[in-house]
Symmetry: C2
Subunit: 407 residues, 2 copies
């Protein structure tokens, strides 16, 4: 007998028929001898409808009141799911954030979980019920309703799984699992059976939107295995665990790309110590996060340096004026911007123990005539900034070049 | 400076524009120097939409889950109203049943209030906020969400007013106040300025649906003045208070009618002690409430009695079989039913001190050729059962006959 948390997203509970499917699936798991906790999102479209109402009233609605409204989406889907289980002959009850008690801080619309009281859930399981917990929501110490931010139901699911000591947290979604790369870009992409938390974190932060980053961080911290799988079939999906995926022999586990960054090129900066610190300290003061940073080596012919970095495209507009005044202060000749860039990355725990992975990546790109504009690395990732027109070409070349097209 | 509770029903918060009006009205009251607590219903149509979803899942949905769903309607309207007040430059916060803490029993879908903690509301008022309390909802001792039944927001409003010691509870609705009778039936109907709790209770129970009966009972118990008025204009409405309306000189305050009762006529019953008790005890066991009861006087020529009573039309179908078997046991010859009846009533505290009111009522009906099928009286009410085709004729004759058409 296992203790299983099953999380269903908005499309999986998007209609009464789909809610019935969720009920049947949960009951099948229970009838196979397991204890089952469900975490449900709002029915797809419902959160947007609710936030739309709020925005009709106020351009910038009060965050506390926003959360009071947004939490109703999961409240309704949790109660409907409990009813659907009862109709199928099972026992169930819905539990809201303030009923479970999922205690969060008071950062409305983006609250973080501080503690979860597992007793209500365990009591329900002990009565033979399926506990249906409303995802995405919590309550602060004052009893105010809070939400965990978009995609927060993944976080709810993993945090509840950790709190009750679940054997596994199943995340049901509309894809079959985690892929070696985006199948829409690379036809030879394959579903992976297992992946490590760290790899999943790198992939998630690089734009592979299968799991919310925070949910993976919590899973890693409490060592909760996550099973990402499809709500539309019974095939096994991808298990995200603490096991080092390199044991399986794969050096590179996936290829990710991110089109949301813009490149800033600051030309002709004084080449003296502290210039880069001046520049990036001032950018950080504006609460803008910068990703890849490259400083050119100066030559005798041109003793002035050039600094290249990337930031989010959505930050670029408000950052431009600041960047130019800061650049002027450090003696820059010119600032150039480029939004037609993509960050292509290879991720894999196996890189740690394999030399030459980065060099092989550069060679694979060079073979396709793709110029690299900037490079950034972590222990299990190498990222290259290239012109966005090369996105598909670069992803496919790296994917197959590292053998990800073969099982 | 007064402490005022203002309750707005579903049509008054039925759109974003109307919610803005509610916000402006509450702020105007606050800016006039008062402390304001709002109670809001769900946006009109929303409760039906939510219950519709539940009924799509289950024919007879679980009552606990029904309440978890239904409470979201007021949760959304309370938060939107708080936002709208903020947009107008005011301070406000929404408070849900479990946040205020409106403690109820656990009779889901028809819970009764046991206690209200006023501290959260008072704290909000002390911060200069308008407290926007979600109507219709509470929480039981276990933290389960409950609802007070249809129209329960009136009850929430009066109970909150009693708990915080409000000077007045204003009930905003889509009519101007309480009328001497139904204006749709009697064109000379007038709005009354003041009416007593007892009169209002009699009128409410007789089908004048301006206020929920329980809200009037609570107002009477805690002596909270209720001001029923229109949310579409600034005219004063009707004040419901503990003052005896007969001080104003009116003997009869209103004429009500109720088409929801059916007449049952049990003919040829044994005329011995205990027969009526037998009959009505057995009906009561079936949890069917009986209203008017008349037992004919027996004569030497016909020593058998006839018993006439009324019950709700919706109860009649399931009651018929029982009534017939019970009637047979008490030796009845025949049971006849009549659904084409209406109960017409005159209500007024002034009746207590005026003899001949009932006689005048019978005379007014007789003058119109209307036959009376049954009579029932209370201290401040006389009701007559007549054929339903006489509804308008009877109401108008009584209304104008008792001078209610004149100020």
């Amino acid at each position: 007998m296992a203790l299983v948390v099953q999380k269903f997203g908005g499309t999986s509970v998007g209609s009464i028929d789909r809610i019935r499917n969720v009920a049947r699936r949960a009951l099948a798991t229970q009838r196979a001898g397991h204890r089952v906790v469900l975490i449900v999102s709002a029915m797809s479209g419902e959160t947007n409808r609710l936030l739309g109402l709020a925005h009709e009233v106020a351009k910038i609605p009060d965050a506390r009141e926003m959360d009071a409204i947004a939490t109703t989406g999961e409240q309704v889907s949790a109660a409907l799911t409990a009813m659907a289980i009862q109709v199928e002959g099972g026992k169930a009850r819905s539990l809201l954030g303030h009923q479970v008690r999922i205690l969060t801080d008071d950062a409305f619309t983006k609250a973080r979980i501080k503690a979860i009281d597992s007793s209500r859930i365990i009591e329900a399981l002990d009565r033979g019920e399926i506990a249906v917990v409303a995802g995405f929501q919590g309550v602060d110490a004052e009893g105010n309703l809070t939400t965990l931010g978009r995609g927060g139901s993944d976080t709810s699911a993993v945090a509840v799984a950790a709190a009750i000591g679940a054997d596994e947290c199943e995340i049901y979604t509309d894809v079959d699992g985690v892929y070696t790369t985006d199948p829409n870009v690379c036809p030879s992409a394959r579903k992976v059976d297992r992946i490590s938390y760290e790899e999943m974190l790198e992939l998630a932060s690089l734009g592979a939107k299968v799991l919310q980053i925070r949910s993976v961080e919590i899973a890693m911290k409490y060592n909760v295995p996550i099973h990402v799988r499809s709500s539309f079939n019974d095939q096994p999906g991808t298990v995200v665990t603490g096991e080092d995926a390199s044991l399986e022999g794969a050096t590179v586990s996936g290829v990710a790309y991110d089109k949301n960054e813009a490149r800033v090129h600051v030309v002709g900066v004084d080449d003296r110590p502290g210039i880069a610190a001046d520049l990036f300290e001032k950018i950080a003061e504006k609460n803008i996060s910068v990703d890849m940073i490259v400083q050119n080596v100066t030559t005798d012919a041109d003793p002035r340096a050039a600094i290249t970095f990337t930031l989010g495209k959505t930050d670029l507009a408000r950052a431009k004026a600041w960047i130019e005044s800061i650049a002027k202060n450090v003696g820059a000749r010119e600032v150039r911007y480029d939004e037609d860039v993509v960050k292509v990355s290879i991720v894999g725990s196996g890189m740690r123990s394999h030399a030459g992975i980065a060099a092989k990546m550069f060679r694979l790109l060079a073979n396709e005539g793709i110029n690299i504009q900037a490079i950034a690395t972590s222990e299990i990732r190498v990222s290259c900034l290239v012109a966005s027109k090369y996105t598909e070409l670069a992803v496919r070349a790296l994917h197959d070049g590292f053998g990800l097209n073969k099982p």
